[in-house]
Amino acid sequence: MVEILYFGRLMDVMGCSQERIALPDSVRDTDGLRRWLDAERILSGALLEPTVRIAVNDAIVPEPFAVSDGDSIAFLPPVGGG
């Protein structure tokens, strides 16, 4: 299981701010996660946008970045500032 966090407009897109998911064996990195989850939820690319960055365990990562059970993975749309 991984914990997935959605921020900003992705909360609205996903309908939640946080969920726990069992990753299929085919998903081994952030690229695989983006493609699998986007297809699974029929999002037409919302999670594939290059402006959406990913943080793994509270650190923004260069992609593709390996993910595995127990990780906390956050999808971050462009930040809006204060």
Partner: protein, 154 residues
């Protein structure tokens, strides 16, 4: 001597300045910036603003910007207060104060920190107007302002 706070309740910029002045004793120049929820946007009348942070990324990013400001300018004190959660027009969103011996350092450091906070700081912002709710992403102008600093310093 840095004071960095993320608050989910309303705060007074004037009170923050009063407290900052006490901490900045000995400085010759204090610059403050207050960002407020505006009653109007491109979408019309604003009835609410929601700000979301991602702890601890938001805090560590702001702390790094503060450290960068201190490396670039000789500051005697620095304060950053940022609201999150639900706000209404007139509410203070952000307060930045800088203190230095001379005014140029205080002005430039406050300007620099605000450029960081408006473009790179980890916040997401949703505006409510009679037309509904809209997530706001940075204006191109904000990115241009931020780029001004890329050649300064090391």
């Amino acid at each position: 001597m840095d004071n960095i706070q993320i608050l989910d309740t309303a705060f007074s910029a004037a009170e923050a300045l009063a407290q900052f002045e006490a901490r900045a004793a000995g400085a010759g120049a204090i610059v403050s910036f207050t960002g407020l929820v505006r009653p109007k946007s491109q979408a019309g009348e604003v009835t609410g603003l929601y700000l979301q942070a991602y702890s601890p990324l938001t805090e560590t990013g702001i702390a790094a910007a503060a450290k960068d400001a201190r490396r670039r300018w000789n500051l005697t004190a620095l304060c950053i207060i940022h609201r999150v959660g639900d706000m209404v027009p007139g509410d203070a969103i952000v307060f930045v104060a800088t203190a230095s011996a001379h005014r140029r350092a205080a002005f430039e450091a406050a300007d620099f920190l605000m450029d960081y906070l408006k473009t790179e700081a980890v916040f997401w912002k949703k505006e409510t107007t009679p037309k509904g709710e809209t997530w706001i992403e940075p204006r191109l102008e904000d990115y241009a302002d931020r780029k001004r600093w890329s050649k300064a310093g090391t």
